[in-house]
Amino acid sequence: MHLENTYYKNRAEIMDKDYYKIMGLNQNATEKDIKLAYRRLARKYHPDISKEPKAEEHFKELGEAYEVLKDPAKRAEYDQYLKYGKANKQDQSHQYTWHTEQANPFQNQGTQFTDDFFESLFGHSRYQQQPMAGQDYQGKVTITLEEAFTGTVKSIQVPNEQNSSSMQTLKVKIPAGVKSGQQIRLAGQGAVGYHGGPRGDIYLTITIQKHPIFDIMDNDIYLTLPITPWESALGTTVTVPTLGGKIDLKIPPGSQGGQKLRLKNRGMPGKTLGNQYVLLKIITPPATNQAATELYKKMAEVMPFNPRDKMEYKS
């Protein structure tokens, strides 16, 4: 369910795309307009730059649109198609194009949509005789931080090996301690080879979702822990959450806000165990009644303290 099918596209869906709309242009756009729009949007949506969740999808669409619109001949064909061709699209709607890294310069086996698209329009076809490994499928799996900690099993959708016009579901084990950006290789689960060549592989790239209370840096987990002024001054033991469950943390007397306490080996599992770091944050309760106000006044009397005395300027 979590595989974002950015690489797998249905031909009918492609045929329905409005390349002008994708590029933010109208049909009167000049070649220069097209080039400028491409450059601007390519920088915006480049998957290596953009943090937008759909950046890769946008970028691929943009590449497809530009491939067609930058070439006057292809653009003319496309304009013709827009005018007359849409009525006939059902003829081809059962065919699919699986293309992997279309924008990837080192992809040498991926089906290039645009070539294929125009070949199909013109009725040509490429023919290759020698055995060739099947295409690798690339996909993404998004998991929670808890799932990354414990490991999990995820269902992904890949093209069916017998009939590539339908999808099949594969269950994949995601090992504990996996990091964002890491890849899992499923050997021999990619597309069927050509002319007796071996099947391709599946590469799944893991993304770990942001967590509401924990942060992760390398193998280490960070948590902000609110404590009271008296807990920080006198020391105490508090129960803190970790990914492995709740544990008791001893806060030493005289602790300060912003101080970082380490829970050794309570971070992410893996070859080297991570730590959990607890950032202390002192929350001062407001003086909501007379007694509390008196108490604060008393504190000011009993322990005069100027936290600003190290500042260069004095008020």
Binding site: A42, D48, F106, L186, K271
Partner: protein, 104 residues
């Protein structure tokens, strides 16, 4: 329908790949990769380019570098600069996320 649970191979960050394998895998000329290296794409650990091995992080940098070079027409020094800045931003983003939770 395939109901069994597939166990893949987790590609560890420490898994290395040789320089020549990188060129073969991505169909890039050795000379171009050597040029990227001269611009500081990754540290040159060996004077013998053929003996060089690259870890996953370096491999990802190479992939990003060639994508940026190809897709956006950025020249090699520009690509290396962009990657260094992007990595810095990523690190700052993680630190910022921790600090945001602290200051909330």
């Amino acid at each position: 329908m395939n109901k069994e649970i597939l166990v893949g191979v987790l590609i560890e960050d420490s898994t290395t790949i040789s320089y020549t394998e990188v060129c073969r895998k991505y169909s890039i000329p050795q000379k171009l990769l050597a040029e990227m290296m001269e611009h500081g794409l990754f540290s040159n650990k060996s004077t013998q380019i053929e003996q060089l091995t690259l870890n996953q992080k370096e491999l990802k940098r190479i992939e990003s570098a060639f994508r940026l070079h190809h897709d956006l027409g950025i020249n090699l020094p520009g690509v290396v600069l962009a990657l260094e800045l992007l990595e810095k931003i990523e690190k700052l983003d993680s630190e910022l996320s921790i600090l945001r939770k602290y200051s909330d």
